[in-house]
Amino acid sequence: MCGIVGLFLKDPSLEPKLGAMLADMLVTMTDRGPDSAGIAIYSGARDGIGKITVQSAQPEADFRNLDEDLRNAIGQPVLLLRKSTHAVLEVPIGQIEAARSALAHLRPGVKIMSVGDSIEIFKEVGLPKDVAARFAVAQMKGSHGIGHTRMATESAVTTMGAHPFSTGSDQCLVHNGSLSNHNSVRRDLIRAGMAFETENDTEVAAAFLSHKMDEGAGLGEAMEATLTDLDGFFTFVVGTRNGFGVVRDPIACKPAVMAETDQYVAFGSEYRALVDLPGIENARVWEPEPATVYFWER
């Protein structure tokens, strides 16, 4: 069992409240996943700025002077915004790859959570309310976001085993369920050049989608492919720079509820997660069909 929440805003006037709405939804899903929690937030692209969200088990040591060290390494300005065990590094967009390789050398203990021009991922072990508080999720702004509360089944309760998983620029995926063919799919993807951080089944699903999209597939097309190539139980919620998608396996035993109004599209593992959204009483509320891809782009 896990909990998933997601919110894709159509109405920009709600953007300042995205984090507050998502944090409430996330905490409501604590019963479904008290082990760890995470959130991917698309806070919006700014001209020429790329973002690398990093995590460290020794944030005091690792983040001290990291901006300066990185600036010296890539010869470009770097801005570091620390949030608890995570930090968002802003670098010129063309310097993301250079910054990434420099990071591996400068701070080997630092893990990369996400890379892109809009996405930031924050995830940790612990109760969702504590995780949301330590990253101040409620203060975050953005166009869309996805959160996850985890009850672990397929790999250890660690920060890196928490969701969302990001395996491509501005992409992320969360999962409720368990995949049974993740080892063979992972082998195929490694042969195709994808890199993995964990033994986790969900990371394989994320990488599968990233690989499909690298090959030129659109979000909808990549999600369709999960229905033929991934075996197991899944409800996936997927984010891209400008998109938001949902797909459930054909058996569809992992719960899902969606709501749509003129202002937003929302996802919850249970209706409880949606009850405080504005206008929910008049929203179109439905259970996504099995083996059916839903996605929105803006």
């Binding site: 054909p250 569809a252 035993c253 719960p255 509820v257 249970e270 209706y271 409880r272 997660a273 949606l274 009850v275 509320v285 439905w286 259970e287 069909e289 099995p290």
Partner: protein
């Protein structure tokens, strides 16, 4: 007419209050407000009372119901009226998966759609769905009646025992050992009653339905297959 604010008093207080209603009571009309998708609302009630839930519910609403009439003025989460023994449960909106699962008696009415596994392993309950039902509905259904005014998803009635299934719309596919059967006068008569009890008589006529049941090949031991065991 007691009104219970679930947001203010919580689920345990609600259910213990309802469980305390035994035999004769003057408090026969209950209103539950602020359900906010909570789980197990009015589960395990055993009294001839009328309960109205004003909003949508989470898992297992009205589970194990005996005698009570429970109406949900919204949609219901997974397992509504699961293992109902008697009484009536009416959902004004949609129901999530396994609505009425393992139900032994009583009547479950869903005014919207029901999703997958509706009536799975039903054992005597009557289920009337005004909309459509999802895949694997009435899986291993043993007895009772299911009436669907809309369509049915894949694998309807897989491994069916003796439950009767009536579908007005399209059936995407029949499960193993489920076949279409002749609609005889007694079935039309039964349907008439079920539609009326299910508040659906104004929407559909018995003649519009097809009947599905067990071919009885799967659950009867066939001596010709003895060598297969």
């Amino acid at each position: 007419m007691p009104s219970f604010d679930l947001g203010a008093h919580g689920l345990r207080a609600l259910n213990s209050t309802l469980h305390a209603l035994k035999g004769q009571t003057n408090e026969t009309q209950w209103d539950i407000v602020n359900p906010r998708g909570s789980h197990a609302i009015a589960a395990g009630v055993d009294a001839a009372v009328d309960i109205t839930v004003h909003g949508s519910t989470g898992y297992y609403c009205a589970g194990m119901n005996k005698q009570a009439t429970i109406r949900v003025k919204g949609s219901a989460g997974p397992g509504v009226a699961e293992n109902m023994m008697s009484g009536t449960v009416i959902v004004d909106g949609d129901a999530s998966q396994y609505a009425g699962a393992t139900g032994r008696g009583g009547l479950l009415v869903i005014k919207g759609n029901a999703s997958s596994r509706c009536g799975i392993s039903m054992k005597g309950i009557d289920i009337v769905v005004h909309g459509s039902i999802g895949h694997m509905s009435a899986f291993m259904a043993q007895s009772g009646n299911m009436v669907v005014l809309g369509d049915a998803g894949d694998a309807l009635g897989d491994s069916l025992y003796e439950a009767r299934l009536f579908v007005r719309g399209k059936v995407k596919s029949l499960g193993a050992d489920c076949i279409e059967k002749e609609m005889r006068p007694e079935h039309l008569e039964l349907l008439e009653t079920l539609l009326q009890r299910g508040e659906a008589d104004a929407k559909a006529r018995p003649e519009e339905f097809r009947r599905y049941g067990s071919a009885r090949k799967l659950y009867n031991f066939n001596i010709d297959n003895a060598s297969a065991y």
